[in-house]
Symmetry: C2
């Protein structure tokens, strides 16, 4: 597909259409049979084993700075992969892998701090790191640290991100935009009022509660590109439209303030401790109640409905009328996760 | 464990004692229950599932340069993880993950070339990439490309690297030092006579042949730190001594020449398409014959014996006497894989 001189740009790692196009053209098409499982482009892969489904997922973490309000790259690397497993229906991780790449000169005390938050996050998730790998690059060859985690777990029933059905209600498990604004503030040393904190947390317990409460048809965690990107991807794959009730979106006051100051919509900003669910209409209330009964789901809300009009689009009901929510190119900020 | 100001050095990624100490002190001890599976410090982890063993493994690849004689970082990333699975007895990978981290400005044509060799290596191994992740770092924040792969597969019987028994024969599946010398020559643009080529190849088919031929007690692929490092680790964990017959070691003439020119022992140089096996004495001949019947095992040789003296040591029988083989600090060259 390339023409001479084409190069990788930041947008190719931003979680949006440019990244999906790169993956589709370079990896899905170009790998042929060797990449057969990639075609779904979900958060992970599902491999039938006996009468169960083995879920396998991976993510690399390049967040800058590695320490931010509410978490660090270690907590993020555990939660991100636990959450990807949970989004596919595997809420009890069998094991995680951890590949650490370090720049020579990285402070050992920082590595130990990162290790400590991995330990805490694993304890919260009931997860274990079962194997790992360590590589070192020279000074100036890597900006500090990159961590990759992969995870494996069984799902009784796989929950794809493409399973939205007409009439399904859309639920978000809590406030949006917290992670992205916290990292923005940390990176640019913005003095914003109130404490902006990343929401980074393992969602497997919360998801288990939701799955037990009613028929969940589709799930995704709105990370890079925020809720807008996640809903566009789910709507597109499911061939439904999504009408979103703007007034119902949970947004913390600190995030609202930062959003107005910076002119950035929280809908477009990354989350690391939230899930968006599509559930059968009759299950919406029990699922929301179950979510609210969990410490990580207190602000869970029904925020939208799946419709037949404009499949693949997200329609924002603003209270003053309706408008199409633009699909973002992806996350506004590079290295948000 | 750290004192103020301690930092990561290149040796911490070299595969030798400094790396093992870092992993033991920082990760195995520091993660506590969250890292329970790390204690074995094997190439991967083994999780009992029903009456089988699920093997999980991961590696990050930071090789410099990404293209080298005989392969590239893509081929290496597939073969490395397929081989780690195979070393644990999982010779039919259920699925691989692939996390790519790119520097902005990386040439798309190079990425496609890497993707193509991943496809070829997958076809050779009968492996599939089932899920992946792409991240982009800014220009100057990463030296080109880092790839992480993780893999999962079932083993009927787990083969640890700690299973050597007294009287076992040590077998290597072919010539040693090829990968490391090829990368050294490429990196430093050495004009060495003859074609030095990396041996990077998927070993799962070869290992399958060996396992079918006789009782294999222990296996390891001699990557970073070469055969010397692998044998020290196996001998140490198994609490046996290993006597190595120097004359029996298969070394290609080109590697011998490079070795003499550079003053570097091929025993200390990385391989990416070789395995070292400990097998019951009576199984040694059938296993070697089975290996030689496979295209990747033509030069397989019995190179040593496990003894009670000096447990944890490797004793080199030179033909002029015996000497202890020093345990290398790890790979001499940073970023060899």
């Amino acid at each position: 597909m390339s023409t001479r001189g084409d190069t990788i740009a930041q947008k190719h790692g931003a979680g949006g259409p440019a990244m999906r196009a790169l993956i589709e053209k370079v990896f899905v098409a170009g790998l042929g049979a060797a990449g057969a499982g990639l075609a779904a482009m979900d958060d992970g892969a599902v491999i039938p084993v006996g009468n169960r489904f083995l879920v396998l997922t991976t993510d690399s973490y390049v967040i800058k700075p590695p320490f931010f309000p509410g978490g660090d790259i270690g907590r993020l690397a555990i939660c991100g992969t636990v959450n990807d497993l949970a989004m596919m229906g595997a809420t009890e991780p069998l094991g995680l892998t951890c590949g650490v790449v370090l720049e020579a000169g990285f402070a050992l005390a920082d590595l130990e701090r990162i290790r400590d938050s991995m330990r805490v996050a694993c304890a919260e998730a009931g997860a274990t790191i079962v194997t790992g790998d360590t590589k070192v690059m020279g000074q100036g060859e890597l900006d500090g640290i990159v961590i990759n985690t992969a995870g494996v777990g069984f799902a009784e029933r796989a929950v794809p991100d493409s399973g939205l059905r007409l009439g399904d209600r859309i639920i978000v498990t809590g406030s949006i935009g917290d992670h992205g604004f916290a990292v923005m503030a940390a990176r640019h040393r913005l003095q914003l009022e109130g404490g902006l904190l990343s929401d980074v947390a393992p969602l497997n317990g919360l998801v288990r509660a939701a799955l037990a409460a009613g028929a969940v048809h589709a799930m995704k965690d709105p990370t890079r590109g925020g809720l807008a990107s996640a809903l566009h991807e789910m709507a597109g794959k499911s061939r439904v439209g999504v009408v979103l009730d703007e007034a119902a979106l949970p947004v913390r006051p600190e995030v609202r303030a930062a959003s107005e100051l910076l002119g950035i919509d929280p809908l477009h900003v990354a989350n690391e401790g939230k899930a968006v669910l599509g559930v059968a209409a009759e299950a919406a209330e029990p699922v929301v109640q179950a979510l609210r009964g969990h410490p990580l789901g207190r602000q869970a809300a029904i925020i939208g409905t799946c419709v037949a009009e404009r499949p693949g689009s997200v329609i924002l009901e603003t209270g003053f009328g309706r408008r199409l929510l633009a699909e973002p190119e992806g996350e506004l900020l590079p290295r948000i996760c």
